[in-house]
Each structure stands twice: as C-alpha cells, then as structure tokens.
C-alpha cells in the first residue's frame, strides 16, 4: 500500500470510529435538542469518511497488481479490514463515558480536525483539497458547539466541573499521538499533500488552553502519552467497536437492505 492510500485510510478511519462511538448516543442524548446536535455532527463525520474511503478505494483499485484482487469499495474498507489495519488515532476509539467525556473527546478531536482541514484545503492533491474545503465548514461548527459545551460544563456546577476535569484527565494521554507524524504523514508533508501534524500542535494547544481557561479546567501535567493507533496498534476498545460495526457484513457477506 502506498503512503497516500495509507494516509487517506487514516483520515477515513478516524471519522468512522468516532462516528460509531457518537452513534451510540442516538436516542439517548441528555435532551432532545442535543441528541439531534450530536447525531448531526456524527452524520457530517460519516459523510467525510465516506469521501475518504471512496477516494482510498479508487487508489487501491488503480494500483499495480489490483487487477488480481477483489476490487475495494468504501464498504469493504469499512467492514472487512481487521483491527491492525485500522489507522485511527487512539482518542476517537475511547468510550463515551458520560456526556462530559463525549463532549471533551469531540472538542479535542474537532480542534485537531479544524487546523488539519484548514491547511489541507490547499493540498496539492485536488481530491483531498476538495474534501477538506467542504469538511472545514462542518468542522468549524463542531468546534464551536463542543467548545461551548466544554465551557458550560467546566464552568458549570461543581458536579459538571468535576466530571469534565475527569474526562480531560482520562483523555489527555491520547492527544499526543495526533501530533506525532507517522511515515505516511511525513511523506504527505514532504509532497505538500497534507500538513505535518507536529506543525498543528501550537495552534491546537492555543485553542485548547483558551477554552479550558474559560471553562476553569486544568491541563494535566507530565502525562505519559499513549501512541500506536495511527500505526494499527490500538487500545482494547477498537476490537469491541469493530465487532459491532462489522458483525453484519461478516456474518452475512454482501448483505444489503
């Protein structure tokens, strides 16, 4: 698999796995309006991941030696790859926990996506530039929405503050990975197809600090950063997610409805 395909799959997997997590809230949101809000955001995410998977499938099918294999489709990439083949970062596979944890996870990820897509709009790869331009508008709203919730909860009642701080403490160890470039990300940066993730860290941190300050939340100090997701080494969470996500296609191959 070439580096571009690996990178596009990484983008697609990030969104698909977060979609599956957020989707667990559907019908269970704390209030009707927020149930709709989080599922709306999730629909944006799955839309973006479909764009990436379709692009990746095209790349795979046009690559050397593809003629002998079953052609890849967005479905086969989502439903028939194994855990170690998924390149999503660890943050998105973490459990929903309570509303505070879901919001915090969304905020940390949306802030990352915001700065990533902002730069990727100017990619030398036309396909990625196009997807990023559309996604950037969506993600701008995700960031606004999740920032406001982090502030509301962090600077809310004693209980909401405590829960949100716990969520930050729990999730912070998975944030470092986003900014550590893998081989495929280094290659993309060299070819000016995507920004080097380490270059996004400063703006991301600035945004997070700004929101946390208003939310009266503390960034944990000296946290050991867990990594591996982008290279296929996941936390135990991903196995459970894929079991549910892929069950139907694996049990009834090719099932449609």
């Amino acid at each position: 698999m070439d580096q571009l395909t690996a990178y596009v799959l990484h983008l697609a997997d990030n969104n698909l796995i977060l979609t599956q997590r957020n989707g667990e809230w559907c019908g269970h949101g704390p209030i009707l309006e927020q149930d709709i809000a989080i599922t709306n955001i999730t629909l944006d995410l799955i839309g973006q991941s479909r764009n990436f998977y379709q692009y990746a499938a095209g790349l795979i099918n046009n690559s050397a030696g593809a003629a002998n294999l079953q052609p890849a489709t967005e479905d086969s990439l989502a439903y028939l790859r194994k855990e170690r083949e998924f390149k999503n970062c660890l943050l998105v596979e973490q459990q929903n926990g309570d509303w505070a944890q879901t919001i915090t996870r969304q905020f940390l990820y949306s802030a990352y996506q915001y700065f990533l897509y902002e730069k990727m709009q100017h990619s030398k790869d036309e396909q990625l530039a196009g997807i990023a331009a559309k996604a950037f508008k969506e993600v701008s709203y995700h960031l606004t929405w999740s920032s406001e919730w982090v502030i509301r909860l962090g600077d809310g009642t004693e209980e909401s503050h405590e829960r949100t701080q716990n969520a930050v403490n729990e999730l912070w160890r998975y944030t470092g990975e986003m900014f550590e470039p893998t081989a495929y990300e280094q290659q993309m940066a060299a070819e000016e197809i995507a920004p080097d993730p380490s270059a996004l860290k400063e703006s991301w941190m600035k945004k997070v600090q700004e929101v946390f300050e208003e939310a009266t939340l503390m960034i944990p100090e000296k946290t050991f950063m867990q990594t591996g997701g982008k290279k296929g080494i996941h936390t135990e969470q991903l196995g459970y997610i894929l079991t549910e996500l892929q069950y139907l296609q694996r049990t009834y191959p090719g099932a449609e409805w």
């Binding site: 209030i31 709709i36 406001e148």
Partner: protein, 122 residues
C-alpha cells in the same frame, strides 16, 4: 446530568411569568431549561416565520439548537429565537369579541374593485 423537561405551551404562563421586563431567571434552574420560539427566514427578502419551539439554557444555545433542529435541510438563511415567555398571546376565550365582528364587514376586502389584467396578482 438528569434534566427534567417540562413542556410549556402558549398561554400556560401566569401573568407573573409573562411580563417582559425580567430577564430569564430560570437559566440557573436545575430543573428545566426555558422554552424558546424559533423563527426562520427561508431566503433573503422574505419574513422570518415561526418554525417551532425548543429548550435551551440561554440564547446562544437556543440559536445552536435551532440550527440543529430546524435548519438541517437548508430551511433557512437567518434565525431568530425568543424566549417563549416574552410572547404575549391573545386569549382564545376572547375570540368571539376579537375576530367575529370582522365577519360581516366584507367591504374591508378589496373585492369590489375591478382590477386591470395588467396588474396581475394582488
């Protein structure tokens, strides 16, 4: 977070809640979020039309909720929200006195004029 929702309808409010001078006091209420009415302008040049209502803790959240609940299918280009308690409604019991007197005053409709074809729809 356990939010208990109490659904209010027009006219459910006592006079003490209906007056427009007090800012929303129940923002900090742990029991309920206030109800908001949503108005959407579907395109430039048209009026804002009432679309429905929703719950939100404050105006910023009400706008966001309105965006998520009522404009998902490109229904609008502009949103207004107003807390429901600031809307004063006519009393349905007064309907007879308020509206029926207009019944037999057909001369208030411009139906007694011949409109030239060139004018088109009026």
């Amino acid at each position: 977070m356990n939010i208990q929702i109490k659904k209010f309808y027009y006219g459910d409010f006592g006079e003490e809640n209906a007056a427009g001078n007090e800012p929303a006091k129940n923002i900090s209420s742990k029991e309920t979020w206030p109800l908001w009415e949503v108005f959407i302008r579907s395109k430039q040049g048209l009026d804002h039309k009432h679309a429905g209502s929703l719950h939100a803790a404050d105006a910023a959240m009400a706008i966001e909720n309105a965006r998520d609940v009522y404009t998902r299918r490109q229904e609008g280009v502009s949103l207004w929200v107003v807390e429901s308690k600031y809307i004063h409604a006519s009393n349905p019991d007064d309907a007879e006195a308020l509206y029926e007197p207009a019944n037999d005053k057909v001369y208030r409709h411009p139906t007694f004029y011949d409109i030239p074809d060139e004018v088109g729809h009026m």
